[in-house]
C-alpha cells in the first residue's frame, strides 16, 4: 500500500492543508491538535507511507495518534514496510509530535525514516516510543533513522535497530533485557538534565536542546518517565530551560 498524507499549519494554527490517504488518516481534534486515526492494520511489508508536516510562523501544531502503530509481517517477498516522516518548523512555529508507540510484531520488517528541520526560533518536541514484540512475543525487525536539524545544523542523528537481524540488540549495549524504549527530543529548550531512576536520563545535546531516553521491560516505565516531560512540554514548554 502506498499512501501520502500532509498537514500544513499556518499562523493561528489555520490548517491550510489536511490531506489524508488510508492508512494515514489525519483528523483535527482540537484548536492545536491533529490525531492520526488508524486506517487498517499495519504497516505491512511492502507498504510505503509518507507523512509531510509543515508548521509556519505563529502556528502551534500537536500531532497525536489514537492507537499504537503495529508493524506486521505481510508477504515475505515484498520489501520492508517504510514510513517516511518529513517535518519543517518555521521560526515562531511550534510542533509537538506525541504519537502512541510503534509495536514491532514478530516477523515484521519495518523502517521509519524521520527528517525534521526547525528554523532558528522554532520549537520542537519530538517523541518516539518503540515496543519490541507484543506481549510475550519475540520482536520483529525495526530500524528507525532520525535526523533533527535546528537552525541549519544537525542537532540529533540517531539510528536504532532491533529484532533478529540486528546484531547484539538485546545485549547490554543496546536494550539489554528491555523491550520498550522511548525518546523525546526537545529544542531549543527542554527539561533539566537528570539521570535515573531506572534506565532513564535527560541529556543536554551538543546543540540547543535535550534528549530524554527511557528503556524498560515494557512500555509502562517508559511512559512513567517520559509522559510527564511530554505533558509539561505540551503545556508550558518554553517556561523551562536547559
Amino acid at each position: 500500500m502506498k499512501a501520502f498524507a500532509r498537514v500544513v499549519a499556518e499562523k493561528g494554527t489555520r490548517l491550510t492543508v489536511l490531506r489524508s490517504e488510508s492508512p494515514l488518516l489525519l483528523r483535527r481534534t482540537g484548536p492545536e491538535t491533529v490525531h492520526l486515526v488508524g486506517g487498517g492494520a499495519g504497516p505491512l511489508r511492502g507498504d510505503d507511507l509518507r507523512l509531510d508536516i509543515t508548521v509556519g510562523p505563529g502556528a502551534v501544531l500537536e500531532i497525536r495518534s489514537v492507537a499504537a502503530q503495529l508493524a506486521l509481517p505481510g508477504r515475505a517477498h515484498l520489501p520492508p514496510s517504510r514510513l517516511e516522516i518529513t517535518a519543517t518548523v518555521a521560526a515562531g512555529g511550534t510542533l509537538r509530535w506525541l504519537p502512541e508507540p510503534l509495536i514491532a510484531a514478530v516477523g515484521c520488517d519495518h523502517v521509519t525514516v524521520t527528517r525534521v528541520d526547525v528554523e532558528d526560533g522554532g520549537e520542537l518536541l519530538w517523541r518516539d516510543d518503540l515496543v519490541c514484540g507484543r506481549h510475550n512475543e519475540t520482536s520483529g525487525d525495526v530500524r528507525t533513522d532520525t535526523t533533527i536539524r535546528y537552525a541549519g545544523r544537525t542537532l540529533y542523528r540517531h539510528e536504532l535497530a532491533v529484532g533478529p537481524a540486528a546484531p547484539g540488540w538485546s545485549g547490554a549495549a543496546v536494550l539489554g533485557g528491555g523491550r520498550a524504549i522511548g525518546t523525546l527530543v526537545a529544542a531549543p529548550t527542554g527539561p533539566a538534565p537528570r539521570s535515573g531512576p531506572g534506565d532513564f536520563a535527560v541529556m543536554p545535546l551538543a546543540g540547543p536542546g535535550v534528549l530524554a531516553t527511557a528503556i524498560g521491560a515494557d512500555i509502562r516505565p517508559v511512559r512513567a518517565a517520559l509522559d510527564p516531560l511530554s505533558e509539561q512540554g505540551s503545556r508550558a514548554f518554553s517556561a523551562t530551560t536547559v
Partner: protein, 214 residues
C-alpha cells in the same frame, strides 16, 4: 600501506589513555546486566554494531577527507547525546593526538576532537588508508571493553580473548562497510546507537567512586 604501522596504531599498549575507559561496560556491570562471559559477548556484539560502526566510519572519513574535520567532529556530536560520552571521546582524542605527535608528523588539527577523528588523522599521518583506520577503530571499540571486562568481572583472560578472536571477522566486516560509506555527506554517515550506552554513561558519571573514567 604498512601492516606493521597498523599494528603499532591498534596496539593496546599505545599510551593513549584507553586503559582508563571501559567503553560503557562498568555501568552495565554495576546495573547487574553483565555478570558472565556470555553477557560480555552480547555487549561486545551490540557495541561493535553501533558505536563500532560509527567510530569506524568517522575514522575512515577523517582519514580520507582532510579539511572536513570540523564538520565530521560536529557529526559525532550529533550522534553522541550523552555529555559524559562526548567528554570521554574528546579526552581519548586528546590523549591519542598527544601520543601520536611523538610518532608521526601530524597536520594542524587542534587539540579538542572526538577520538575517531583523531584516529583517522593519525592513521593518515602514519601512511595508512581509510580501510585501515576503520579496522583500527572497530577493533579498538571492542578491545578496550574486553580488557576492562577482565578487570571488572575477574573473567578468565584467555576466554575473553577468545571472544575477541571470534569477533575479528565481524570487525573486518564492519570496517569494510564503514569504509565503503565513508565518502557520504556527514548526515548520511552511519548513526547506529546503543541507548543503554548513553543512559549508562550518564548514570556512571554521577558515581563518586568508579574504576574507569567511562
Amino acid at each position: 600501506m604498512s601492516l606493521a604501522t597498523l599494528l603499532v596504531l591498534a596496539d593496546g599498549r599505545l599510551p593513549s589513555g584507553g586503559h582508563a575507559h571501559s567503553g560503557g561496560l562498568e555501568a552495565q556491570v554495576s546495573a547487574g546486566r553483565v555478570r558472565d562471559l556470555d553477557a560480555v559477548a552480547g555487549f561486545l556484539r551490540g557495541k561493535l554494531a553501533t558505536a563500532g560502526l560509527v567510530n569506524a566510519a568517522f575514522a575512515a572519513a577523517a582519514c580520507a577527507r582532510p579539511g572536513e574535520w570540523a564538520d565530521l567532529d560536529q557529526g559525532l556530536d550529533s550522534r553522541t547525546p550523552s555529555p559524559a560520552l562526548r567528554k570521554a571521546s574528546r579526552a581519548q582524542g586528546r590523549a591519542l593526538l598527544r601520543a601520536a605527535r611523538a610518532m608521526w608528523s601530524l597536520p594542524p588539527i587542534g587539540r579538542d576532537v572526538h577520538q575517531p577523528i583523531a584516529l583517522g588523522v593519525v592513521a593518515s599521518a602514519g601512511g595508512l588508508g581509510p580501510q585501515e583506520a576503520a579496522v583500527a577503530a572497530a577493533h579498538g571499540t571492542v578491545s578496550g571493553v574486553a580488557s576492562a571486562a577482565v578487570r571488572l568481572l575477574g573473567l578468565d583472560p584467555f576466554a575473553v580473548h577468545g571472544l575477541l578472536a571470534r569477533l575479528a571477522p565481524e570487525c573486518d566486516r564492519i570496517a569494510t562497510e564503514a569504509a565503503a560509506r565513508s565518502d557520504r555527506p556527514v548526515d548520511d554517515l552511519p548513526a547506529a546507537s546503543g541507548p543503554l550506552l548513553d543512559v549508562g554513561a550518564e548514570l556512571h558519571a554521577t558515581w563518586e567512586v568508579r574504576l574507569f573514567a567511562s
